[in-house]
């Protein structure tokens, strides 16, 4: 059992969960993720660690409710527990001095780039972050990122806060400004956003790294369910990634494979809500 120390809503349907996981916290590096199971029986789902505190033995997850398991997880309060937490999994982010590194976070991806910002700054980069949300209330982690970044550019789709438009628009601006001397773009967020970013950076020949989120089961390279095509080769995202060179990724295939269980995901969601309704009445 992994006790939850803190659970707060950061934005609609986006929850920050700090959980005790001593062993994981001790070894966490930026880019690592965990796989959790809320209860038994229950699905195993991967989540990136936003931060960790080795001393306190805690890790912090930022979770967006998209289906049954993320909803069950986000229903938990401090004092309750998560049944299984395994990690850290995946390869850590390659941290090097790119000169100027631009981090782009969309939605909960903003939490994913947070530890990267800290590590990139430490090795001497100028670090900019572009973070996006639908409206102002969806922009998360701005204050936290500002601690490690030279600049943070919030963006909203409706212009209610910061840059008026998508993160890709802001990134395009920066790339076009030659004085920025961007050495690398590192991004995490919804697949359509990461794909759009790969398109934007391509003509500029800037190294671009994306954090992929295929469906996973074990997270140890045992099942092959998380396979993605990168540079024409099959890779297992849980052990070879989850970060890859954006220009090599077959995004169409990733999007397609993510839809494998759409029908069942809907059934699980409806089931969860039906049960909650009947237990209320």
């Amino acid at each position: 059992m992994f006790p939850i120390r803190k659970a707060v809503w950061l934005a609609p349907k986006v929850r920050l969960i700090e959980v005790e996981a001593q062993r994981v916290a001790k070894h966490h590096q930026p880019g690592h993720f965990v796989i959790i199971r809320v209860r038994d029986p229950g699905e195993r789902i991967p989540l990136t660690m936003a931060t960790s505190d080795a001393q306190a033995g805690t890790i912090t997850l930022v979770v967006q409710v998209v289906g049954a398991t993320t909803e069950m997880l986000c229903d938990l309060e401090a004092g309750e527990s998560i049944l299984n937490v395994v990690g850290p999994l995946g390869k850590p982010t390659e941290i090097e001095d790119f000169g100027h590194a631009v981090l782009v976070g969309g939605g909960v991806g903003t939490a994913v780039i947070y530890p990267q910002a800290e590590a990139l700054k430490k090795v001497g980069n100028t670090v900019s972050a572009i973070i996006g949300g639908r409206t102002k209330e969806y922009v998360i982690f701005e204050k936290e990122l500002a601690e490690h970044c030279d600049v943070v550019h919030p963006c909203t789709d409706d212009g209610s806060y910061g840059y008026n438009g998508f993160v890709t628009g802001k990134l395009q601006e920066l790339l076009e400004d030659e004085s920025q001397k961007i050495g690398a773009v590192i991004t995490a967020g919804p697949v359509p956003m990461m794909r759009a970013i790969a398109k934007v950076t391509k003509p500029f020949n800037v190294r671009t790294i994306v954090s992929l989120n295929p469906i996973m089961v074990d997270g140890t390279g045992m099942c092959g369910g998380c396979r993605v095509s990168v540079g024409g080769e099959t890779k297992f995202a849980c052990v070879d990634g989850p970060e890859f060179e954006a220009q090599d990724v077959d995004f169409d295939e990733l999007v397609d494979r993510l839809a494998t269980y759409q029908t069942q995901e809907k059934i699980a969601w409806d089931r969860l809500h039906k049960c909650q309704d009947c237990s209320k009445s």
Binding site: R23, V24, H27, R37, P41, G42, E43, R44, A68, T69, L83, N84, V85, V86, G87, P88, L89, V217, D218, G219, T220, G221, M222, C223, G224, G225, R227, S229, T234, V239, E253, D256, R257, A259, T260, Y261, Q264, E265, A268, R271
Partner: protein, 469 residues
């Protein structure tokens, strides 16, 4: 009873669930012997002086001894004999390939049918589990701490033996449940999970600490276990859990699974109960499924697909039936359940529809040519014989490789060119104090060989821990 009378008794059949019924459920196929059948079967044993059957058992069970005790109705004694040599008889009795091991050497097989050693082993083990308390005197502690990586048969056996010697043992398991292939791979209709759970609970009662959710190589490295976590020795039994894909076009279509993923979703995660609302892990139920391979994994996958509703559920294998490495009983059961065998065929491409789902697999006919390195005749494609088999789920069960997650993070650990850990005659690796056994050393092998390695290693580890050798 005189040998002549014993010779007159026919082999007692195993009670099985009816084939058409069981092809729709996940309950165990074999129902076990009734007491009377067990006694009769045991009486068939000739109690040979120079019992050849024992040579076929990798752990050297005193077969005539335990079978004789069953014939005498002394099940307590039978269980004592069995458990002295084999800590997981309820499991091996169900899954050992008896026909190539103990039963192959039984004299009664020379002129007729061998004694049902596996069935009797299972009978005694099930009786013991249900009727006996596991009486256990904790041995005096040695003060030595041992870490065991992986909770498959190799790790469980090694841990059990070491704890009997008084060492403090901790098993680290990557998944959320202990048992290895026994719980994530082998389906419930062959080996119910509760049997494995009972064995694991037995180890816990003996004081073995089983810690799930720890991936060695990620959560801890082996050098850390030895240098920081205070372990005096390590046994690595992390299995051969790396799925091998054929590398044919179409493998990333929706509906293509490795056997590992398919079976893990169904067995470990209980995916077959998703529709009933009892679990959250989805699995695709195809109306037509094709599996490629000829081993136990392939047989388990195709019978699982059948149970999830595929009709037909087809197995493609590039050699002929004689070369199939699966247990004979599983092949027979699969056939009875209506699995279609397409022998001497090989898939060359997986075809998808316009939505990215599998719609068919293109195959080519094979014929057997000259013998290859393994001594088996090499299958060669017959030109111009391609054809399509329609299916919505395609499962690759052509074998597994060594998972590099642990070996790559252990500096100085020597592996061969397939990534299997190299060990000496004491099962010690190139790192002093680190031992290994089971599939990670042998490549995909069997439960009993993994157990044999676990046991052999425990003896060598005890020697190392106590005398520094």
């Amino acid at each position: 009873m005189k040998p002549a009378e014993r010779m007159k008794i026919d082999r007692q059949p195993m009670t099985e669930q009816d084939a058409s019924a069981r092809a729709k459920n996940f309950r165990e196929v074999n129902q076990g012997y009734a007491d009377e059948a067990a006694t009769q079967e045991a009486l068939r044993c000739l109690k040979c002086k120079d019992a050849k059957c024992v040579n076929g058992c990798p752990v050297g069970i005193d077969i005539a001894g335990f079978v004789g005790a069953v014939a005498d109705g002394d099940l307590n004694k039978a269980a004592n004999i069995l458990l002295a040599a084999n800590v997981l008889p309820g499991i091996t009795g169900r899954v050992c390939p008896q026909e190539t091991q103990c039963e192959q050497y039984c004299v009664r097989g020379k002129k007729g049918v061998s004694v049902g050693i596996g069935y009797l082993e299972r009978f005694v083990a099930d009786w013991a589990r249900e009727n006996r308390e596991d009486l256990f005197e904790p041995p005096p502690p040695t003060g030595k701490k041992v870490a065991v990586v992986g909770s498959g048969p190799a790790g469980l056996t090694c841990a059990g033996e070491l704890s009997k010697m008084g060492h403090a043992v901790t098993i680290f398991e990557a998944l959320h449940k202990a048992g290895g292939v026994l719980v994530y791979g082998i389906p419930e209709f062959r080996l119910p999970n509760h049997i494995v759970e009972a064995e694991v609970d037995g180890l816990r009662r003996r004081g073995v600490d089983i810690v799930t959710d720890v991936v060695i190589g990620q959560t801890y490295t082996i050098p850390e276990l030895l240098e920081e976590e205070g372990f005096h020795a390590v046994f690595v039994g992390n299995g051969a859990g790396l799925p091998v894909f054929q590398g044919i076009p179409g493998e990333n279509l929706k509906g293509v699974y490795s056997a590992n993923e398919f079976l893990t979703r169904v067995n470990l995660m209980g995916g077959y109960m998703f529709d009933a609302g009892e679990t959250d892990t989805p699995i695709i139920r195809a109306s037509q499924a094709v599996v490629v391979g000829g081993g136990n994994t392939a047989m388990d996958s195709v019978r699982t697909a059948k149970r999830l509703g595929a009709n037909p559920a087809t197995l493609i294998y590039r050699r002929s039936r004689e070369e199939m490495p699966a247990r004979v009983e599983e092949i027979k059961h699969a056939e009875e359940e209506g699995v279609i065998f397409r022998l001497l065929n090989n898939p060359i491409e997986i075809l998808g529809d316009d939505k990215g789902w599998v719609r068919a697999v293109r195959c080519i006919k094979m014929e057997l040519g000259e013998p290859d390195d393994s001594g088996r005749r090499r299958p060669v494609p017959v030109e111009g014989s391609e054809f399509e088999l329609p299916c919505q789920v395609f499962i690759e069960a052509i074998g597994t490789g060594a998972n590099p997650l642990l070996t790559q993070t252990t500096p100085g650990l020597e592996v061969n060119r397939w990534g299997n850990i190299i060990v000496d005659e004491n099962n010690m690796t190139s790192i002093p104090g680190v031992f290994a056994g089971g599939d990670i050393v042998r490549g995909g092998a069997t439960v009993i060989l993994a157990m044999g390695d676990g046991k052999g290693s425990s003896v060598a580890m005890h020697e190392y821990l106590m005398n520094g050798k």
